[in-house]
């Protein structure tokens, strides 16, 4: 019952993060996420990214996007967690691993569990349909070549 206010605040924090990403405003990440933030992608990653690493990853990633939009299908707040289920819609630009991806539009789903402490995100565990994303960009799975 007294949880509800904090849960609403936490939900608002995550919604803001999604909105700002869609505006291309990555710098707000530095404010909304705690110094000891850890990013697990995949959700069971043995090497989560630190706040610094995540920020650099976002900056690099966003260089490939002309347009970003997160359509939130569902958002659930419970205790110190916020769970988001979303459809990401990206329009690409530039080149990625030798393929020109300019103009390519992709749509893929993701589920993220955020943990929030004192109004800042301390952890995110994510699963994304990354295979679907790459397939839409023009990649396919092949056995690793023996070298």
């Amino acid at each position: 019952m007294c949880n509800t206010e904090i849960e609403e605040q936490n939900k608002a924090l995550i919604l803001k993060w999604c909105e700002e990403q869609d505006k291309g405003n990555i710098d707000v990440f530095l404010d909304l996420f705690a110094p000891d933030f850890l990013y697990y992608d995949p959700s069971n990653s043995p090497n989560p990214m630190s706040k610094r690493e995540t920020y650099e990853y976002l900056i690099e990633g966003f260089k490939l996007f002309k347009k970003v939009s997160h359509k939130i299908e569902e958002i659930i707040a419970v205790d110190d967690k916020v769970i988001v289920r979303a459809i990401c819609h990206f329009t690409h630009k530039g080149e990625f691993q030798g393929i020109s991806v300019t103009g390519k539009e992709v749509e893929f789903s993701e589920i993220v569990i955020f943990t929030i402490r004192d109004g800042k995100v301390i952890e995110a565990r994510e699963e994304t349909d990354r295979l679907g994303w790459f397939q839409q960009l023009g990649f396919e799975l092949k056995p690793k070549e023996e070298k």
Partner: protein, 217 residues
């Protein structure tokens, strides 16, 4: 009326403390007058307190009841999810019949979570059979689980050794660990639908595959 009773008890205890013995001793005439005065002072106060607390009590009790009912339902839902994964870990075709009982007939499974074409419970189970075969020591473990309303969110890790052909890949003997996130909706103790995203790309990479630009044909 727990709070009301508590105040009654406190009130009685106050009265008790003001008299050395209960019931009020008729023999101690000096003490009796004092005690009776105190009784007349304290009793109305106690009665007023009970009345006031009693009224507020109803609202608080109703809210508390709702909260308790919600918490109990969420606990039941979590137990159902744990049970479902236990069934999954047994993973023989025979257990499909037992597992099916856990879901409604028109159950929908969305994988990936944004898939516009969900599959039925049977179709979902059928897609698991190749996994049971290719990874005989398969296991889904629940790393984290929370309930909110009619939904349960679960973070799982799939583990298994690649001992049979899987998705066109001949057995490699490699041990895989694959993460997954699942949101399940439950109504009246049965699964109605679920949305899942999992690290399929990571699974394939662990089995020795890699992403290459599609060849022009």
């Amino acid at each position: 009326m727990e709070n009301g009773s508590l105040f009654m008890l406190i009130g009685l205890r106050l009265l008790q403390n003001n008299n050395d013995s209960l019931p009020i001793s008729k023999e101690n005439k000096l003490g009796e007058d004092d005690s009776m005065k105190k009784l007349y002072m304290i009793l109305p106060l106690v009665l007023i307190l009970c009345f006031v607390v009693g009224c507020q009590d109803k609202e608080v009790m109703a809210e508390l009841e709702e909260f308790r009912a919600q918490a109990a339902l969420e606990e039941q839902n979590i137990a159902l999810v744990r049970h479902m994964y236990e069934e999954l870990n047994k993973g023989t075709a025979a257990d499909l019949e037992a597992a099916k009982e856990l879901a409604v007939p028109d159950y929908s499974h969305y994988y990936p979570s944004g898939n516009p074409k969900p599959v039925s419970f049977e179709e979902m189970w059928a897609s698991l059979l190749p996994i049971f075969e290719a990874f005989p020591d398969f296991n889904w473990s629940i790393e984290d689980v929370f309930a909110a309303g009619d939904k349960v969110v679960v973070r799982i890790v799939f583990r298994g050794t690649h001992q049979g052909e899987f998705m066109g890949i001949p057995p490699t003997g490699k041990k895989v660990e694959v993460g997954g996130l699942n949101i399940l909706r439950i109504e009246n103790g049965k699964f109605v639908e679920d949305w899942e995203d999992a690290d399929m790309l990571g699974w394939m990479i662990q089995l020795g595959m890699e992403l290459k630009p599609k060849e022009e044909r």
